[in-house]
């Protein structure tokens, strides 16, 4: 398994997709922060870098889907998964090592967003107004949330043996998760006196979605449900990982 992981990590750094994803994250976060600090209107207060952190994570949902389905889709397309099996690795090892490599790539993106936002945010925008506890919670939630998302995208990428279909399915899933997460937080933030207020079973449904959806967890991270959300995400990752392994093991590879 170590050989598979080592080979996967080396390939991860050899492919362009990771660097393209990091460049996109820079354009979304870093460049915007530079623009904001240079062209700000006089008298207008600077935004909190925490907002850039969240927008970076939102972009990462899509980018991690793109990276994983492309990275593992290539293995299907080039037939190189066969080399791994023929080199004496069973499907279980191939699946787990693919998950670990993809998780490492997503964590690199996550680290990049953190580093970029913290450095540029401190230098250009004056630093976070979030407390240290809030930042720690957000980092833990991003770790658990992206672990679950990685498990989902790896499942799609390895069990759908066509790179193009897998990529489209991954991107659709990423958009669905993003829309669902943002919409849920919006619905739940409507004040009780508003006619659009969601009450009763509808509210309970949205609260449940907020609890399990990594995007809504990250957006509403300061609502005091951090530990519960993290555990749910990690449990979800474990379920997705196990389901993916069973599906992959019982599938005939092309």
């Amino acid at each position: 398994m170590n050989d598979l992981i080592r080979a996967g990590i080396k390939r991860m750094f050899r492919v362009k997709t990771l660097y393209v994803c990091l460049a996109v994250l820079f354009f979304i976060g870093g460049l915007d922060m530079i623009k904001e600090s240079v062209f700000r209107e006089p008298g207008r207060s600077l935004p909190d870098p925490g907002g850039y952190l969240l927008s970076g994570f939102l972009a990462m949902v899509l980018l991690s889907a793109v990276f994983i389905t492309s990275f593992l889709g290539d293995e299907h397309q080039y037939g190189t998964l066969r080399n791994k099996i023929a080199a004496g690795n069973d499907k279980f090892r191939v699946y787990v090592s693919s998950f670990i490599v993809c998780h490492a790539a997503v964590m690199i993106m996550c680290g990049f967003v953190w580093l970029q936002t913290t450095l540029l945010g401190t230098l250009l925008l004056g630093g976070y107004t979030y407390t240290a506890k809030e930042l720690l919670l957000l980092s833990l939630l991003s770790f658990s949330g992206f672990t679950m998302l990685t498990a989902l995208f790896v499942l799609i990428a390895l069990c759908v043996q066509s790179k193009s279909i897998g990529s489209v399915a991954g991107v659709i899933a990423a958009f669905a998760i993003m829309i669902c997460g943002v919409m849920t937080v919006q619905v739940l933030s409507v004040p009780a006196f508003s006619p659009d207020y969601a009450g009763g079973s509808r509210r309970r449904l949205f609260e449940f979605i907020r609890l399990i959806c990594p995007v809504s967890q990250m957006i509403s991270f300061s609502d005091g449900m951090g530990a519960e959300s993290m555990l749910i995400s990690l449990a979800g990752a474990a379920v997705l990982l196990a389901s993916g392994m069973i599906l992959f093991k019982n599938r005939d590879l092309r």
């Binding site: 050989d3 050899r14 037939g79 791994k84 690795n89 069973d90 590879l253």
Partner: protein, 304 residues
């Protein structure tokens, strides 16, 4: 005889289609085993199965003496290199990077030998050219180099000459011969291009509708396909006595039939047969090619 690969009544179904129907075959160590069959006969299904890409529904196989039901089967696959349908290479990498990737995968600590491998398959001068810019023949050769990274004892090649130009076919043939001769690698090569296989194989397995219809060594096949005269007589014992007396090589192929491997003077044979009261009914010249042999196997049932 020592066998590197043995299969026993393998069965594989894809929904309603049975791709393997009790396939039994034996690949001797050190051989170049030509796996012959038309498209859809089950060649690739068998190769996928022994490579561990899919499981069978029934039957079993042994690879290097390890059964497929044994937990160690994955480890025994380390002694095998394979190209299944298309070469398994990263098209966005150079030839050397592809080999480095495979070395990493196999846990080989250093990249020693990559240059030698590239030279062996004739890709020593590709430098920074990415595999996506390679010709089909170059990709096939790179695929073989990747398969050779683990110093395999068995090389499985699924239709390696498909789509190659004449020069590419010659190079591929020479490479396979070299690997078999110099590195003592057993080669299982599937193809439906019989003429090409006949220049390479030391053993054959003819597959049709998911079953091996005949396994035969190249020597036996050559004998079976030798030019001969088929004599049909009224009394086979009389014919054998006459042919023995005349010192002519022959093979009895039926109750009143024999193939004679010489240019017999029929009038002399007829005169001799008269002494035994035996009549010569017919004499047909037979010149069978590998293609004829294959067709008679898959279309005419058993070959006599």
């Amino acid at each position: 005889m020592e066998y590197i690969l043995k299969t026993d009544r393998l069965e594989k179904k894809y929904k309603d289609f049975a791709a393997l129907r009790g396939l039994t075959m034996h690949v001797p160590a050190g051989s170049i085993y030509g796996f012959v069959g038309k498209n859809g006969a089950g060649k690739t299904t068998l190769i996928r199965t022994i490579c561990g890409l899919q499981d069978v529904n029934a039957g079993e196989y042994e690879l290097f003496g390890v059964k497929n039901t044994d937990r160690c089967i994955s480890r025994s696959r380390r002694r095998m290199g394979a190209i299944v349908e298309t070469p398994s290479i990263y098209l966005d990498m150079t030839a050397a990077d592809n080999l480095k990737q495979q070395f990493d995968l196999l846990g080989r600590p250093a990249y020693d030998g990559i240059g030698d491998l590239l030279n062996l398959v004739g890709l020593g001068d590709t430098e920074k050219k990415r595999a996506k810019h390679f010709s089909l023949g170059m990709r096939q050769r790179l695929g073989i180099a990747v398969a050779l990274c683990g110093d395999p004892d068995l090389l499985v090649l699924d239709e390696p000459i498909n789509g190659l130009d004449p020069q590419g076919i010659i190079e591929m043939r020479e490479l396979i011969r070299k690997l078999n001769r110099e590195r003592k690698i057993t080669v299982l090569i599937s193809s439906h291009i019989l003429d090409e296989l006949s220049r390479l194989a030391t053993h054959y397995g003819f597959i049709d509708h998911g079953r091996i219809v005949r396994e035969i060594s190249a020597e036996d096949l050559e004998n079976a396909c030798r030019k001969c005269v088929r004599l049909t007589v009224t009394d086979i014992s009389a014919l054998t006595a006459v042919l023995d007396e005349m010192g002519i090589e022959y093979r009895i192929t039926g109750r009143n039939r024999a193939d004679v491997f010489a240019k017999p003077v029929l009038s002399r044979i007829t005169r001799q047969l008269d002494r035994y009261g035996c009549d010569l009914i017919s004499a047909d010249v037979r010149d069978e090619s590998l293609e004829d042999y294959y067709i008679s196997l898959v279309e005419g049932g058993s070959h006599e």
